[in-house]
Amino acid sequence: MSIWKYANPSEFMRISRPALVPLTVLTVICLGTGLIWGFFFTPDDYKQGSTVKIIYIHVPSALMAINAWLMMLVTSLIWFIRRHHVSALAARAAAPIGAAMTLIALFTGAIWGQPMWGTYWEWDPRLTSFMILFVFYLGYMALWEAIEDPDKAADLTAILCMVGSVFALLSRYAVLFWSQGLHQGASLSLDKEENVSDVFYQPLLFSIAGFVLLFVLLVLIRTRTEIRARRLSALMQREMADA
C-alpha cells in the first residue's frame, strides 16, 4: 500500500471526512483547557506580572506561524516532484491560517512588549524576520489569486514558498544567530532540561496542542473546499463549452 494513494482527490475526500468530527472535539477540548486553565487558574509571574498569561496565545501562534510555512514547503516540494494536485491545494489552504497565526504572534508580542520592553516594536532580528514572513504569506496568497492557470499558479507559489522558507527558519533561529536582539530565547525547547516553570508549562502544552489541532482541522476543511472548488470550476467550464 502506498501513501500516495491519499493524494488522489476522491480518496482524500473519503479518508478526511470521518476525521473532521473527532478532530473538532479534540481541538475544542485542548484549546479550551489550555486557554481557560492558563487565563483563569495560573498565578502571575514574579517579574512579568499578569502579562505572563499572554504566553498561552503568543507561543503557540508563533510556533504555528513557522510550522505552517514549513508544512507548505513540504507540500510544495511534493507538488514539484510528484505533481499531486492535493498537495498543491493543501499548501494553498494552509496559507491564510499561517498568515493569521503570524498576525496573532506579531500583535500579542507587541502588546506584551510595551509593558515589558517599553516598546511595541523593535527592529530586532526575530521580530523583523517574523514581519517579513507575514509579507511572504500575503505575497503567496496574492500570487495564487493572480494567476488563472492553477498548475502554473501552483508552480510559481511553490517557488515563492521555497524562497520564503529562509525567513521561516530565520524566524525560528534568529535568536541564536544574532545575540544583540531584544527577543529572549525560546520558551520551550526539546533539548532543555527545564523550560518554563511547571505551573505555566502544563497549560501551555494544552494550548499548543489546541493550536496544532486547530491548524490541522482548518487545513483539512480548506483543502476539501479547494478540491470542491476545482471540480466546480471544471463543471462550469464544461457547461459553458456545451452551451
Binding site: 499578569s50 501562534s61 493569521a100 502588546i111 506584551w112 462550469m236
Partner: protein
Amino acid sequence: MPDLGAYAGAVLSAYAVTLVLLGGLILLTWRRSARIKAALAKIEARND
C-alpha cells in the same frame, strides 16, 4: 475573572485580538466551505 492588576489592558487586548482573528478565520473557512459545497451540489444535480 482573575485580578490582572496594572496589566489588565494588555492581557485582555491580547486575548481579544486572538479571539477575533481566530473567530474570523473559522467563520470565513466555514462560510466558503458551505458556499462552494452548495454550488457544487447544484451543478452536479443539473448534470445528473
